[in-house]
């Protein structure tokens, strides 16, 4: 277990929900739209405080993991409110304690901006995803708009201390981990993206 990352997100969990009001309203409809594609046994990676549980369609069985016990503690009440079943477990995405090919759908929301070894984490996801399964991602990535990309590079060392990296090449990382991109959509500039991938 990556204790440094765990401690960072335990600390962040105290104020995490304070930042979510506007993002819920502005980005929530896109997440809800993405989550309508959930099918079968589902894994959610980096559940955080469970803020995104409200965007899941009802009636699913979801295993939601996070490296941070602080985050999971805050997610418990939201999981209980979900009209379906959400099981919470502490787990490091880079070392999943899960059998191979156990999920039909894997969901991530602003996750692979934060995983210290993103390709290792994505390879683990590929391992536990069934052959006809799908990876549904809602992520923020480095912009290809020249000045904006440079800004994100410059701000990342500061942002990383308290939260995510701002300049991850997540689409390329997904491909490097062995996935094939099924669909890629820009939600806000080319920074916030929906990424759908298959094995």
């Amino acid at each position: 277990m990556d204790l440094t990352t765990q401690r960072k997100w335990d600390a962040a969990s105290r104020s995490f929900d304070l930042l979510s009001f506007a993002d819920d309203h502005r980005l929530g409809p896109h997440k809800r739209r993405l989550f309508t594609k959930i099918r079968g046994a589902t894994l959610m990676v980096a559940a955080g405080t469970g803020n995104d549980f409200k965007f899941f369609p009802p009636g699913h069985r979801i295993l939601a993991i996070d490296i941070s016990p602080g985050m999971l503690e805050r997610a418990a009440s939201k999981a209980a409110r979900y009209e379906g079943e959400i099981e919470l477990r502490q787990m490091d995405v880079c070392a999943l304690d899960l059998p191979e090919e156990s999920f039909d759908t894997i969901v991530t929301v602003c996750t692979f901006c934060s995983v210290p070894k993103p390709i290792a984490g994505l390879r683990e996801l590929r391992r536990v995803l069934r052959r006809d399964g799908q990876l549904l991602m809602f992520e923020h990535v480095r912009s290809n708009i020249g000045p904006l990309g440079i800004f994100l590079d410059l701000m990342t060392p500061l942002a990383r201390r308290f939260g995510p990296d701002l300049n991850r090449e997540t689409v390329k990382n997904v491909q490097r981990a062995g996935f094939r991109i099924r669909r890629e959509e820009n939600v806000y500039l080319d920074v916030v993206k929906i990424i759908e991938a298959v094995r």
């Binding site: 930042l19 009001f21 800004f151 701000m155 890629e184 820009n186 500039l189």
Partner: protein
């Protein structure tokens, strides 16, 4: 609609505060390179502080993205102007130009967003 109004208000505020901060630090005749670097630095500081305050209300990405451009580019441009005494001698004028700059950056980011938004790859097509 409230979010859109808020975005423009935030941009104007960011621009005005960046102009104010640069005006406080850069004096006429200062080396322009130094002034621009100082302006950029102080603009980045303003954008981080103000952006983090406004982000919960308006959204992290929609606030911080134009704020980065306003703070960094605006800071450099205001530093250049103030070191050369090239206009807006009075503080209200400088703040007004700063606010206008912020509004224009928000508009440009929104136009760019419209252009970029949508499907990039669809292998099922």
């Amino acid at each position: 609609m409230l979010f859109v109004i808020g975005d423009y208000a935030a941009g104007a505020l960011m621009g005005a505060l960046t102009a104010l901060a640069v005006r406080a630090l850069v004096w006429p005749g200062m080396d322009m390179v130094i002034a621009m670097l100082l302006g950029m630095g102080v603009g980045m500081l303003v954008h981080v502080v103000v952006g983090l305050v406004l982000a919960p209300l308006l959204g992290m990405f929609e606030t911080m993205t134009p704020a980065m451009v306003i703070g960094m580019y605006g800071g450099m441009l205001f530093g250049m102007r103030d070191s050369m005494s090239a206009g807006s001698a009075a503080l209200p004028a400088a703040l007004g130009v700063g606010a206008l700059f912020g509004l224009l950056v928000v508009l440009a980011v929104k136009v760019y967003d419209r252009v970029l938004r949508g499907v990039v790859v669809d292998a099922e097509d």
